[in-house]
Assembly symmetry: C2
Homo-oligomer: 369 residues x 2
């Protein structure tokens, strides 16, 4: 019990949501560890949904590990990338489920990053009005953010994540070893969502990130294990209080209103989601300063850490009016008013509106002409 | 309080589902009655989803009635019929929502029959991960069955209602006047779901239906009001105990396993859903007899009432093996075993399997060669 934490020791972070409660397991080597699946309902059939990048690396290992739980394990491989988070690709999962006569007890395993998790989750939410699913995130971004909390969705040509469901997994299994094969650019994108938890919730964690950013970028397993665990703890605490984003949960979208505009404006996939969020956080923290909530020292500190993580701090020059147009269809907008997550004071976020002119100035100063 | 019930007096049937509870209102003239919408959250925008048959008759009346609640009321008209319960048509609703920059508070009104209700409900469940919706059913089938209980879905080429959600409306508003324009064939189809409630739950109601079938077919408003109210009461009682069909709720699928095979085998839309259910109930009651649960007198009694309602009691000759193949992908099937709702004793239903050979004999004797 008093042993020093190591990446080999499994951390378990509970998400408390009544009869939809579940655990996030975090450790090295979980994919091939039968204990990772213990206690979940077994079923005749299972489907691993993955993509063409992650599948060749890890799908066979997962399928082997699941053999004792399911008589048949199918593998469905989706094209890789945000640009494929569409109905057409989602429907490929339904085709596989129906062609294999999968019943209501069939378990779906989402093996991949945020796109695979979002699509598999929505497929599980919708197939026969709901079948069980397990998140097996293989990117840093998915491990610290998108696999936790039950948000699932696909994109619509007119907006990101516009069609989806709140649908909780049975479990989230984060095998830290899968991060070994993650390209540097995607690792940095994941760090954006890690850094996010500092300004909105926990400045002590932000201090720790500043002290350990070099080690994290070198993928020191113990440091990565701590970053994933602490991120999941914060997300669990927020989601446990507000599953369906009636209030508090919206703070997790810090940087996302600007970020979604960058993603949509550049075409899905041109910027990674985490890159857009990183740059979006720079804009959101500047907006917070212009609203008189934080000072320039804090803005510089957040911006510096985002840059150190290898993330872009300068936005694409789409023009302020295009940004505003794209942000008006954000899900947080109400009756045409854009809602921004801003930092009220370091470690505390609030959601509020802001005058278009002020937002435009922030965009102009944050984008390279 | 002691006044005799009249179709002008609004009946209110509560569905008790904790924080998802709502009322079914039943009366003539509700479409133009502002009280029908009282107490629901107002919002800037609303969308009436209807179809090309019902829209011209009632959409303007509903839009007028909603003007005090919503600054803007859009109307989206879908093609009419089960064959259009597809992703492509569903996506038309999402297009309209996004093109009009509809936010999370936008209310969707489903004005039409089961297809409109199922699609609007699934659109509401999925748009921005869930927006409020109201069922305004205009067919007998939708008023007594499909609009109540929160089942929403679209069809997949490989199976009916395979993609959907459990998602409860804010309210169900049944205006009995809308049944005036319902074609006789569709009125009979609705009676199938009314008759269903007798054998599975309430033989006193079945007796009443036998005594009043002529008056119902003549659309006597007081009789129709009673049939709708009693059907909704029974459905409310069953759904209140088992919202997500973990057990009891499955009895509402009496006749539906055979019926879905007829619908799929003939191509969606060739048989109306209620016609397929009527014929499916004849098969299911015969199966119940072959399983030794009910006697021939009861089989004849149920079959006779189904015929009197103007419903087909003889199935299409698809061949027993085709029926079995289609039924194996039914949502109630588990690991390839087909689950049938059978009558255990008059007024009581159970879900169980049956040998293929026995089922095949029932199909053969129930279909015209």
């Amino acid at each position: 019990m008093a042993a020093a934490p190591s990446p080999r020791t499994t951390s378990s972070v509970p998400i408390q949501l009544g009869d939809r409660s579940y655990d996030i397991l975090i450790a090295s080597g979980l994919l091939q560890d039968p204990h990772a699946w213990a206690g979940m309902a077994a079923s005749t059939q299972a489907i691993i949904v993955t993509n063409t990048t992650v599948g060749p690396l890890y799908a066979a290992r997962l399928a082997q590990s699941l053999k004792s739980r399911h008589a048949t394990v199918h593998i469905v491989s989706l094209p890789d990338g945000e640009a494929h988070k569409t109905w057409l690709v989602l429907n490929g999962i339904f085709d596989a489920l129906l062609e294999n006569a999968c019943d209501r007890k069939t378990v779906l395993y989402a093996l991949g990053g945020g796109v695979v998790g979002d699509m598999t989750g929505f497929a599980a939410a919708s197939y026969m009005r709901g079948v069980p699913f397990v998140q097996v995130p293989t990117t840093l971004l998915a491990q610290v953010d998108s696999s936790v909390g039950g948000k699932t969705a696909i994109n619509h040509p007119l907006g990101k994540n516009m069609i989806g469901a709140f649908y909780q997994p049975l479990r989230v299994v984060c095998d830290l070893d899968t991060l070994d094969t993650l390209p540097a650019r995607e690792f940095s994108a994941g760090l954006a969502e890690v850094i996010k938890y500092g300004p909105i919730f926990d400045m002590a964690f932000f201090d720790w990130l500043e002290a350990n950013m070099d080690g994290l970028l070198a993928r020191d397993k113990a440091l990565v294990a701590h970053a994933v665990r602490r991120s999941c703890e914060i997300k669990a605490q927020v989601v446990g209080q507000d599953e369906r984003e009636a209030g508090l949960r919206a703070i997790l979208n810090f940087g996302h209103t600007f970020g979604h505009a960058i993603e949509a404006g550049m075409g899905y996939g041109a910027w990674l989601h985490g890159e857009a969020v990183g740059c979006g956080m720079v804009m959101a923290i500047r907006l917070s300063m212009r609203l008189g909530l934080v000072d320039a020292v804090f803005v510089d500190r957040v911006t510096a850490l985002i840059r150190r993580a290898g993330l872009p701090a300068v936005g694409p020059a789409l023009g302020a009016s295009r940004y505003l147009e794209l942000m008006r269809v954000d899900k947080k907008a109400e009756a045409g008013e854009i809602r921004f997550v801003v930092i009220d004071s370091p470690g505390r976020a609030v959601v509020r509106g802001a005058p278009d002119a002020l937002v435009g100035e922030v965009i102009d100063e944050s984008c390279r002409a």
